[in-house]
């Protein structure tokens, strides 16, 4: 397995997505991650596999947390405590639960895709924005991917890329390492584009 070649293939994938989805860097991670996962599975139907992609939000587990656990989640983090000070003070359980549903997967469980999707808001501490944009931004990411995949040339090229990943032995790498390589590649592209 040649990790250098895998990295180069990831970089080519980022370039390819840049051509088809210009200015939509937030979509590159889920797309490339899907291609890599799909390469591992060696099921070569790109469009179907990528459209089946979804973020595992564990809605049931999140809905069932106790009020005490939710309050502790907000109090534990200095920045969250400040942002949601009024709700914590007035013990507005409904508002805290609503915010928790968006913030727990991003900050509590550290879902790698969601962290990347809300990278800017996490950096600037705009947690209320994560809450207000949560569903719509995830929905938009999926909506934006679907039409791009109708482009047969994109599907074909992603297919070739997945075959290449499979032949390079990407399945021998840890998932977390593959994710890190994709994030590093996208970060490099953003810096090169002045979008860091």
């Amino acid at each position: 397995m040649d990790t250098g070649r895998i990295e180069k293939a990831i970089a080519r994938g980022i370039e390819l997505l840049g051509e088809f989805l210009p200015g939509a860097a937030r979509l590159y991670f889920p797309l490339l991650h899907s291609v890599c996962v799909w390469a591992v599975r060696r099921i070569f139907n790109v469009r179907q596999e990528i459209l089946a992609w979804q973020v595992w939000l564990e809605p049931e587990a999140i809905e069932t947390k106790s009020d005490e656990f939710i309050a502790s989640f907000f109090r534990r983090d200095e920045r969250l405590r400040q942002s949601f000070g009024p709700e914590l003070e007035s013990e507005d359980k409904t508002a805290l639960r609503e915010a928790f549903a968006a913030l727990y997967p991003v900050l509590g469980l550290e879902d790698v895709f969601l962290k990347d999707l809300f990278r800017a808001e996490i950096g600037s501490g705009e947690f209320r924005r994560i809450v207000s944009d949560f569903r719509s931004r995830i929905g938009r990411a999926i909506d934006d991917i679907a039409p791009a995949l109708k482009e047969t040339s994109l599907s074909r090229k992603l297919g070739a890329l997945a075959r290449e990943f499979a032949s390079l032995g990407i399945h021998l790498l840890e998932d977390e390492d593959v994710q890190e390589m994709i994030i590093e590649g996208i970060r490099g592209k953003r810096i090169a584009d002045g979008d860091a």
């Binding site: 990790t3 990295e7 996962v37 564990e58 049931e60 009020d67 005490e68 656990f69 509590g108 469980l109």
Partner: protein, 283 residues
């Protein structure tokens, strides 16, 4: 590129050799043998929290078993196929596979087929919003099934449903509902103590009932025994830290100091940078 990938040194030679041996042996084996190898590997990947790879291997196991079933149907091949389908939550397909294994003479497969059918029914109830009906099916399976995957799925589903419902109940009603659920979970723990999931679920229930001491202990046991996905493991760690903080505030001296020392030992064992910071929390 992170330095750790240089020359692929993260893959120790024995691991790489193992993978190569597996690949070579799989390529030479019959479809049934391949299905069994993929199924076994899927279990290992699942235990190592590599869920995506486990799913991929269960799919491969099912594919190979299906090819063999067409060519040379046997009890073994339908059992492997059915078990792979159970792990992929393909209840109807699993039921059909187990029925075929039963028809060929494997008696326990009849009960498994029936449990897979019930799980499919519960999933259909949920899909159309009949949560109470689904809850009844899960409760029945949780109490009566002898088929471990069906019991685990039902225990998870029922716990989620009861906890969700309990949020809107009066304290008295809530206490009653949580006690009944915990009694059923205790029975599962008694029968199958090594299943991390049951301890994780018990910890979640204790978090709601305010029994943070047991909530903490169950989360520790769940962590030690292992859980089926990274996301559940992380949620369990968060629960563990939550209970730890609660107990730290509640316990009087010298119990508090003893408890903190005990927790510090666990945290060191798990490689946590601090008592309230799991290893996966990077910031």
């Amino acid at each position: 590129m992170p330095k750790k990938f240089g020359n692929g040194q993260r893959l120790a030679a024995p691991v790489l050799a193992g993978i190569i041996i597996l690949a070579v042996s799989v390529s030479c084996a019959s479809h049934l043998k391949k299905a069994k190898i993929y199924y076994a590997r899927a279990g290992q990947e699942e235990a190592a929290l590599r869920t995506e790879r486990a799913v991929a291997l269960y799919k491969l196991a099912r594919f190979e078993a299906s090819v063999e079933a067409e060519k040379d149907p046997s009890i073994q091949v339908f059992l492997v196929k059915g078990l792979a389908e159970v792990n992929l939550a393909m209840w109807k397909e699993a039921e059909a596979s187990f029925v075929k294994a039963f028809a060929l003479g494997h008696d326990p497969a009849q009960a498994w087929a029936s449990d897979a059918a019930l799980l499919g029914l519960a999933a259909s109830f949920e899909a159309i919003g009949l949560d109470d009906s689904a809850g009844g099916v899960y409760e029945n399976l949780m109490r009566n099934s002898k088929f471990r995957p069906a019991v685990m799925t039902s225990a998870s589903k029922r716990t989620e449903a009861v906890l969700r419902k309990s949020l809107g109940l009066t304290p008295k009603e809530k206490g009653k509902a949580l006690s009944a659920l915990l009694r059923d979970l205790d029975k599962l723990i008694e029968d199958d103590y090594a299943c991390g999931l049951y301890h994780y679920l018990a910890s979640q229930v204790c978090g709601h009932s305010g029994d943070h001491e047991r909530g903490y202990s169950e989360a520790v046991v769940a962590r030690e025994l292992g859980l089926s996905s990274e996301i559940i493991l992380r949620d369990n760690d968060n629960q563990l830290v939550f209970c730890y903080k609660k107990l730290k505030d509640l316990l009087p001296s010298p119990e508090k100091e003893e408890f903190e020392a005990r927790h510090a030992a666990w945290a060191a064992r798990w490689g946590w940078p601090g008592p309230e910071t799991p290893d996966w929390k990077k910031n």
